[in-house]
């Protein structure tokens, strides 16, 4: 799939663009300016004996052509240039205008010929093209482009307050038998990308499950995962749609999907908060989110008591950073104080949700996924070294809070500067960390950064690798670990990247780190992650085990082979790290 396209929006834009062209020709004709009448020309091709019918057919033909061009714009052109939509439409209009001038308009004249055949003569072919015709065609197409550009925007997501169509009902599917009963096997996982932050200062909701059509194709997705041999699936029910208000839930968005996972697998690792909250809760600056999300987590665990694995809040550091420091999502703030508040509120929420789940299911297992980050100073200047050292402390802040790990001196001083006293920090950390906790460490090629001589972070690529960075997380927290996310934006390099990540996993296991699973994220391609979900463009990022048509990619086949190669091997069919965790 090239783009995620809003077909209805494109059709309406094309219709309006074509109508504007008609109006332009009508007005210029009435004003006595040299112009064309394309509808009359279209109708004259076949219906010259019945003018009314001809006009209707001509209008219909022209509107249809307008719709097709607008859809073509939506699929192939929209979002290519970082320009205002109106300019994008205007530039795009050059294509239909040129085709109209060079091919279609001269051909229409040929089609009106009384003779069934002519001998091609360039002079005769282009005879209908006069300067006035060219000007009229150029201007009318420019108008079409402007209208389409203005009307076709934000093809993915929806205005906050709206709701997407509910998931398709379950159908009799291919039988995959019962869910994998091996409770202690190594977790060969994937995930359904489910981010739902708001952008445009809370006015527009990104919803990756809607953009990737998971609500419509959830059953195909699970069947595909089972075909690949996936044992566990990271699954984030849409919090913003389910939690309608305090104590009010719409379980329709998750009931059938979880019933399927219960019956057939893969076993879900339920991700309860993924980069967004319902609009009635505001954003991550709201200290009340901990209580509201804890109620939700408790209600969820009570409704689905068979779910064992939970990620209360996904990638707290990334969420706080993108929302409150980089100004991309949700509150869209760019200040240190807001970042600290977001990090604390997310950590408080994670702790409260964990407690609420444990109150319902005491043997629940928590996979606390976090993005692995590392900053390398480019040079020995003290300020550059300080920035790198500080960023390498900052990455641990939310995990330090939920794992009650002492915060480094630099970070503590920074928190003091932004309104957090030692008592606040101690207050968050005053809880018992569940024994059944796993640190999930995600890794992408952009997670390693170089602090350049100006103090700016630049992507470094895969320099030290997951092994080195995950080791830093293990050394700090000494908890069982899982590789919870990786993928590659270059689809052709996916299989190579998968094996390299896997070799990192094997090396860390052989070094004695208790590793319980590996994840290629996600099952299908994603939408707009190349721009961090910052705008509703609809770019398809080919990172999935399958594309958005649900056709398997080479990396999906590679993962299938990897799983087949290892799943029955000692140490994988019965994973000592997971068995040890369950025994705790």
């Amino acid at each position: 799939m090239i783009r995620v396209v809003a077909l209805r929006k494109a059709a309406v834009a094309g219709l309006c663009g074509a109508a504007a062209m008609e109006a332009f020709w009508f007005v210029t004709g009435k004003l006595g300016l040299p112009t064309i009448d394309l509808v009359a020309q279209l109708s004259a091709v076949q219906f010259h004996r019945w003018p009314l019918l001809g006009d209707a057919a001509g209008l219909l033909a022209h509107f249809s052509i307008g719709i097709c061009w607008a859809m073509f714009y939506a699929f192939f052109f929209w979002g290519r240039f970082h320009l205002r939509p109106v300019l994008q439409g205007l530039i795009f209009s050059i294509a239909p205008a040129m085709l109209a001038i060079l091919v279609v308009y001269p051909e229409l004249a040929l089609m009106r010929s009384q003779s069934p055949m002519v001998v091609l003569d360039l002079h005769r072919f282009f005879a209908p093209i006069t300067p006035a015709t060219v000007a009229s065609l150029l201007l009318s197409h420019a108008l079409f482009g402007v209208i389409v550009g203005l009307m076709y925007r934000r093809p993915v997501g929806y205005a906050v307050g709206n709701r997407p169509a509910p998931p398709h009902p379950r159908r009799p599917g291919r039988s995959h038998g019962k869910r994998n009963a091996n409770a202690t096997g190594f977790m060969f996982a994937t995930g359904i990308e489910c981010s739902y932050p708001t952008i445009e200062h809370g006015r527009w909701r990104r919803d990756e499950m809607a953009a990737t059509r998971h609500y419509a194709r959830w059953q195909d997705d699970f069947e595909l995962a089972l075909d690949i041999g996936i044992t566990h699936i990271r699954y984030g029910p849409p919090l913003h749609l389910i939690l309608k208000g305090p104590g009010s839930y719409d379980w329709g968005f998750v009931d059938e999907a979880l019933a399927y996972l219960h019956d057939h697998g893969p076993e879900p690792i339920v991700d309860l908060c993924h980069f967004g909250v319902p609009s009635w809760l505001g954003d991550f600056q709201n200290p009340e989110i901990a209580r509201a999300l804890a109620d939700y987590a408790g209600a969820f665990a009570a409704r689905f008591p068979w779910v064992r694995f939970y990620t209360p809040v996904n990638e707290m550091y990334v969420c706080a950073r993108m929302s409150a420091l980089d100004g991309t999502w949700n509150e869209q703030r760019r200040d240190e104080r807001a970042f600290a508040h977001a990090a604390f509120n997310l950590a408080r929420a994670s702790i409260a949700m964990t407690d609420a789940i444990l109150a319902v299911r005491a043997d629940a297992i928590f996979v606390n996924s976090e993005s692995s980050e590392f900053c390398q100073a480019c040079c020995p200047e003290p300020e550059i070294q300080r920035i790198a050292r500080f960023e390498n402390e900052r990455r641990f802040l939310p995990l330090d809070l939920i794992y009650a790990h002492p915060i480094g001196d630099d970070m503590r001083a920074h928190l003091h500067d932004h309104g957090f006293a030692d008592a606040d920090i101690a207050g968050v950390m005053a809880h018992e960390v569940p024994a059944r906790s796993i640190i999930g460490v995600d890794y992408y090629e952009w997670n390693e950064r170089l602090i350049d001589s100006d103090g700016h972070a630049r992507a470094l690529g895969e320099l030290f690798g997951w092994y080195v960075i995950a080791s830093q997380y293990y050394d700090r927290y000494k908890r069982p670990m899982m590789h919870t996310e990786t993928n590659r934006m270059d689809a052709s390099d996916g299989p190579r990247w998968l094996w390299r990540q896997w070799h990192n996993v094997q090396l860390l296991r052989s070094a004695g780190v208790p590793l319980v699973g590996f994840t290629w994220y996600s099952l299908t391609d994603q939408v707009d992650w190349d721009i961090g979900l910052s705008k509703a463009v609809g770019n398809v990022d080919p990172v999935g085990l399958a594309d958005l048509n649900r056709d398997i990619r080479a990396v999906g086949l590679t993962y299938r082979r990897l799983i087949e190669m290892h799943k029955d091997q000692p140490g994988y069919t019965d994973c000592p790290a997971l068995a040890g965790l369950l025994a705790s």
């Binding site: 010929s113 002519v118 689809a491 052709s492 048509n549």
Partner: protein, 170 residues
């Protein structure tokens, strides 16, 4: 081109058979187009321009459309398998064939002769119809012609040694 398509995820991958699926879809989309050509008296004119009997013109058309279908499927790769957009991509391809072929190539094959009047309309509409049918049919044919994930040889070149591959090589 193939590197670009692969990096951007359009590469069909080891399970898909774009040439086969495209050729079948191209062929299946041809009868309605031929019917339209016949109704608008374009078929006879095309046969005259090409200097062939009508039946041979139809056979040549079927072959050409099968080849064009295979080309379409390979060019668009995975994008051609999109049910929601396939009809549009196919129509655009049909339009491109008309603009390039019917307007410029056909006269070259027929000493500069070109259909005009209703036959010219027929050629245009038949190629748009053919493209729309091709694009709409292809996703469904692709599903029936692709290899299953567990067929031998499908993942042959996707083993662990890939980790050592030069990332610049596609």
């Amino acid at each position: 081109m193939s590197g670009f398509l692969a990096a951007h995820g359009y590469d069909p991958g080891p399970t898909q058979r774009p040439f086969t699926a495209g050729a079948i879809a191209g062929l299946l989309a041809t009868p309605p187009a031929i019917l339209l050509l016949h109704l608008l008296r374009s078929l006879a004119v095309e046969a005259r321009i090409l200097g062939l009997p009508v039946i041979l013109t139809i056979v040549a058309g079927c072959v050409a459309m099968a080849v064009a279908g295979a080309l379409y499927a390979r060019l668009l790769g995975r994008a051609a398998n999109d049910v929601r957009g396939g009809w549009l991509f196919g129509m655009a391809f049909g339009f491109a064939l008309w603009a390039a072929g019917a307007v410029f190539v056909l006269p070259l094959l027929g000493n500069g002769e070109l259909p005009a009047g209703p036959p010219a309309t027929g050629v245009f509409l038949s190629l748009i119809l053919w493209g729309g049918c091709l694009g709409a049919l292809l996703p469904f044919i692709q599903r029936r012609t692709h290899l299953k994930v567990d067929e031998p040889g499908v993942a042959e070149n996707l083993g662990p040694t890939l980790a050592a591959r030069d990332p610049a090589k596609r």
